[in-house]
């Protein structure tokens, strides 16, 4: 009888571990896995089609090329519309952000507090675009699991240079792919919501090909569609430089 109880208990434990993967993992461990899925590749390039949609459903379109390497290096360059063609944004690290304005033939450094500004009329701030490893700036506090998704409450670390009071993120329990981010301002009001859909495994990496950022106050949204996604091309650090930023867009 004792043996039967022991086997039953073991089976129950096994069932719990299989059906509830979160059990045994701390919120920070889950966040680390989400970050690692987001940054699993060594480098990435893609084309982004952006739609900026206002409350009257008027649409403005942007086409940008993005490149990313490691945790820090990012480059964004505008292809369309014509009035911003060639405008580029380069991030070397959190303190070194640069903007290239082709009309002036000049690269300009951006102060980090400008990172709370929206990037070229989109609903993404410079900070949103730069954020790749949440665990660098945030501590995961709460964890719940609902409808196959982890829900984490992210609180900024004391040393973090971020403009949000906190974030709430949701990620799939099956693959730790980020599916939603809620952004809260200093008054703890939810101001923006990012949803990530159209998840595909490309070259072995999970990638959400559609991102929708909604500014709740302004009822304005930006929809990003990723295409021409390429991973691990061996991009060198020199691809993320003043030299590359100033080169004409092709």
């Amino acid at each position: 009888m004792k043996l039967f109880k022991y086997i039953l208990s073991l089976n129950l434990l096994l069932i719990v571990f299989i059906t509830l993967p979160a059990v045994g993992q701390s919120p920070d461990q889950i966040l680390a896995k989400i970050d690692s899925v987001q940054n699993a590749f060594s480098d990435m390039s893609a084309t982004e089609q952006m739609k900026l949609i206002d409350e009257e459903n008027r649409v403005k379109k942007r086409v940008v090329e993005i490149k990313q390497k490691g945790k820090e290096l990012r480059m964004v360059r505008f292809r369309e519309p014509a009035d911003v063609r060639g405008v580029g944004f380069l991030r070397l690290d959190s303190d070194r952000l640069y903007l290239y304005l082709p009309a002036f033939r000049k690269v300009r450094r951006i102060a980090s507090l400008a990172t709370n500004e929206n990037f070229m009329g989109t609903d993404f701030t410079y900070e949103d675009m730069s954020q790749s490893v949440y665990a660098d700036d945030y501590t995961a506090r709460e964890l719940s699991t609902q409808q196959g998704q982890y829900r984490l409450f992210l609180e900024p670390k004391p040393s973090a240079d971020v403009n949000y009071h906190h974030l709430v993120i949701l990620a799939d329990t099956s693959n730790y792919v980020l599916r939603k981010v809620e952004f809260y301002d200093r008054e703890e009001e939810k101001i923006k919501e990012l949803t990530i859909d159209n998840i595909e495994k490309i070259d072995g990496y999970w990638m959400g090909k559609t991102m929708r950022m909604v500014s709740l106050d302004e009822n304005h949204k930006t929809v990003l569609e990723l295409s021409d996604i390429q991973f691990d091309q061996g991009l060198s650090d020199s691809e993320f430089s003043d030299r590359s930023l100033k080169r004409p867009i092709r």
Binding site: A82, D83, I110, L113, M120
Partner: protein, 416 residues
């Protein structure tokens, strides 16, 4: 081998065309009566043609056309250019070669803009191209000029060398040279450009890089001031008085630095100007005299500034400039304090900008300029702007000579 590569790549060049059309109306209100200025409209056509991964060709044509014809006689009505005044120029035309001879060397050859200096538009080290004062309201603009530029890239640093075969003089506003050069009165003026010899060519070097969170550069320029200075004056009635002008030779040792401290962008830029002495020879009724127009003493121009974006989205940019573009010589450098505020609305569809400039002349006379503009981007590529430029200045200030040019402007710009 290189020529073969160039030839192969050129056959693959795929040109694309872009540009803009800007229509501009200026209502001048500063004088006794309000009038519509005959300011230019502008059509810029750009052609860019990447040819392979290492070659790039860029040209832009600039057409400026005016609203009001200026016929002086019936015969002028027979001429298209009199009825429809316009000016056409090649604005930029250059070839880029990436990895020229060495992987880390890029060159750009042709008519180009070379923007040096990390201050915001008020750059004492930006002396390779001429000032473009043609739009008096936007007096911080610069025009391109012919140059050969090579940039050698190191890890996080760059060495740039530039050779310019000759000087390109300043571009002045139409019928408005007095705004920047002072009133020449009833004098006939004659402009003497340096002879086109290699000795009169100009060259410059710049090293720029980063140390920790600081970006910096040091530079050296050896060339000409693009703004002329009087060298000869002849008054011999009843002949028309005559004034001759030349461009002073000068060297400029420059440095700049930019960083970010607690979210505030901070920059400084300085140019130590080493001019050659310029004398003015006067001949009045046969009596000649000499006076020094420009001493060969060094003088320092600088700009110190910073910017900050408040959490409510208001952008503040403030600068102190010691020495205006046209100022020369230690005794003649005035101070300008500029505060710019910007705020965008409706996801950057609307931008409101306010520029305040305080001129302090010898720490005695004051001038003040207020420039405000509201721009609205209703749809992609279309921008409409409404603004005003208001100037006041005490006697002796630069702004005093601009007082009658208070104006309101409306402009529409379409990019394609």
């Amino acid at each position: 081998m290189f020529l073969l590569m160039v030839n192969t790549q050129l056959t693959n060049a795929q040109p694309t065309f872009s540009g803009f059309l800007q229509l501009d109306k200026r209502f001048v209100t500063g004088g006794d009566s309000t009038y519509i200025d005959n300011f230019y409209n502008q059509f810029r056509l750009e052609m860019s043609a990447p040819a392979g991964s290492r070659l790039y060709i860029f040209t832009s044509m600039d057409l400026r056309f005016y609203d009001f014809p200026d016929p002086q006689s019936l015969s002028d009505l027979e001429r298209l250019e009199s009825e429809f005044p316009h000016e056409l120029s090649v604005w930029e035309a250059f070839i880029d070669v990436y990895g020229f001879l060495f992987d880390d060397l890029d060159i750009r050859v042709g008519k180009q803009r070379i923007a040096w200096g990390r201050a915001d538009k008020l750059n004492p080290t930006d002396n390779l191209n001429p000032n473009d004062f043609s739009d008096f309201v936007n007096f911080t603009e610069m025009a391109p000029s012919w140059a050969f530029k090579g940039t050698w890239y190191f890890d996080d640093s760059r060495l740039t060398g530039v050779w310019l075969p000759g000087i390109t003089p300043v571009l002045l506003p139409r019928n408005g040279s007095t705004l920047f050069l002072g009133d020449l009165g009833a004098f006939n003026d004659e402009l003497n450009l340096p002879d086109r010899t290699s000795a009169n060519s100009m060259f410059a070097f710049r090293w720029d890089g980063s140390i920790d969170k600081w970006d910096y550069s040091i530079s050296y320029f050896n060339g000409y001031d693009d703004i002329p200075i009087a060298t000869s004056l002849t008054i011999f009635p009843p002949l028309q008085p005559q004034i001759e002008m030349e461009f002073p030779r000068m060297q400029v040792i420059g440095a700049d630095v930019v960083t970010e401290l607690s979210g505030i962008g901070i920059w400084g830029e300085a140019g130590l100007f080493l001019p050659e002495k310029v004398e003015l020879i006067s001949d009045v009724n046969g009596f000649s005299s000499r006076e020094i127009q420009l001493e060969d003493d060094p003088y320092l121009k600088f700009t110190i500034g910073g910017d900050y974006t408040f959490t409510n989205g208001i952008y503040l940019n403030t600068q102190w400039m010691h020495g205006f573009f046209t100022d020369r010589g230690t005794e003649n450098l005035n101070d300008y304090f500029v505060i710019r505020l910007e705020q965008d609305f409706f996801n950057e569809d609307v931008l409101v900008a306010l520029n305040n400039t305080l001129e302090v002349n010898d720490w005695e006379q004051l001038g003040y300029g207020l420039s405000s503009e509201l721009t609205y981007q209703a749809i992609d590529n279309l921008e409409a702007g409404l603004g005003a430029f208001l100037i006041w200045g005490e006697e002796g200030t630069l702004f005093n000579s601009w007082e009658e040019l208070d104006q309101v402007f409306v402009r529409f710009r379409v990019d394609f």
